[in-house]
Amino acid sequence: MAACAGVGERVQCIAGAMRPVRGGDSAQSTVMAVYLIRPRNSLAVRAATLIGKGFTYPEREAQIKEVRALQSQDPLHNEILGWIREEPAEVLFHGAVTGSLIVEMAPEGAERLRQEVPGALVLADQPIGVIQPRPATASKSSVGTGDLWHLRAIGLEAARQQGFAGTGRDVRVLVLDTGIDATHPELQGKVEQALAFDPVTLREYPIQGYDSSGHGTHVTGFICGNTVGVAPEARIWNGLMLPQGRGTVANFALALEWAARQPAIQIINLSAGIHGYVDDLRDAVATLMNVGVLVVCASGNEGANQTRSPGNYVEVLSVGATTEQGRVASFSSSGTLVVNNHQYTVPDVVAPGAAVYSCVMGGGYAAWDGTSMATGIVSGVAALILERHPMIRVPDLLDTIAATCHDLQQVATRQGAGLVQVTAAL
């Protein structure tokens, strides 16, 4: 007999604790499976008319108490519980309010329960996958000014109306990403170099400009797209480092080493990372700063108190995302880190990154959510500043970008220095 204790929490059935279970004299191991078991006709439905419907705290407390009492008196629920107690089964969870039980038992036992207690609903546990990100809304063949809120938010639209003519002319940005569709009308003639970093051979080789998944094209649109971009005359180097969105740390380290050797590159745009703080790439990233390259990196799309490396290195310009309403987007990653006795927060700055329109592979536009999008916008702003101040040192460039941000009146751990503005490029 399985003796269970506790209600509404993980409980242990003593007799059913052994796994695998040996059945009868055969001494054969029985495979155990997990089942969700509850009365077929839910008590909540049956008791709906008996229980109050208010939403105040005392009313909700009273409702919960009422349902728990009804549940404990429910003959069907008690019949199921009694049946399970007689079985070599382990009750993993007993929902006192819902009346649901999560039970580990042999499939034969589950089948007998179905037959002997017809009122019991016995469902085999199923794997549940995450809902994969859906990067695009319905795409458009063209965008209007109403779609370009990101350019307004960073002050570029107003600056252009007042005669600002900065375009990031001849500033070179390496986009280490999934590739770039250089044939998109927004990007034609702007991709100066295209190469791939082979994760197997660890060698770089020239490629025809293409994108393996569309991410790099969307990001690049923000940097230099004709209408959606911040710095339309910036020159792009397409570094295919994440074919189909996957790469390796070794490949990344060597791509950074390669980039550090290229005198033409002034900015590197990165949208990749490993969850948590992993310092494998830190030295390579720090080297880029030493040789005059600004590394702009997405903080991640996991929300508060979660960051990624290299987006959480102190040596990069870490970027979070904002909404059109001027708030830090809920998905925008942020956190406080302590590395070598030095405490700092990420992101450093935020930029538009929720429902922002840019290029999609093969032509057209779509709005995506992500700190990668915000990163492209910040790279574009940095290109405008470098055009205006070509001899600026990287630490001074970082300070300048942070000093000219617009304070969103949110905590520094979420917004960093605030919303990036083009002010420093004017």
């Binding site: 070794a250 990344f252 380290a253 590159i265 992993v278 390579a284 080297t287 040789v291 929720a354």
Partner: protein, 136 residues
């Protein structure tokens, strides 16, 4: 494979796990951060900082920075790189930064971990794109 305490302190949990279960001849790819030679690093720190305004273009400034960095890195870690090349099948990088990618058998990797110039080593691992989210 058996690892000394010093070797264990230099490696990440993934590499530790891989080395514990690997046969000596199994090939591994690891990312290593090398420890610069202290004396050389001190000398490099005292090197004059380049002034960008002394160059005719940003590209020229960057070229000078690159050459300076190459010299610095060569001084700081070349000895360890030579030792790694002697011990391992392949060593990539290490020209500009203290990060190298090394390939070799598990036995070779364990030997490389005894070098004082190897500060840290991690098993190569997948790197993910920061995936865009559903746009609401």
């Amino acid at each position: 494979m058996n690892l000394s305490r010093v070797q264990q302190q230099k490696i990440d949990p993934l590499l530790r796990d891989a080395l514990m279960h690997a046969r000596p001849e199994d090939t591994l790819r690891v990312v290593m951060t090398l420890q610069p030679d202290e004396e050389q690093a001190l000398e490099a720190d005292m090197e004059r900082e380049l002034d960008p305004t002394q160059f005719h273009s940003r590209e020229a400034y960057r070229s000078a920075l690159i050459e300076q960095q190459k010299r610095r890195t060569l001084h700081e870690i070349s000895q360890t790189i030579h030792e790694l090349e002697r011990l391992l099948t392949a060593v990539h990088g290490g020209e500009m930064s203290h990060t190298v990618v090394a390939e070799g058998s598990a036995q070779q990797v364990v030997s490389a971990l005894t070098l004082t110039g190897v500060r840290r080593a991690s098993l190569d691992r997948p790197l993910e794109l920061v995936e865009p989210r559903p746009c609401r």
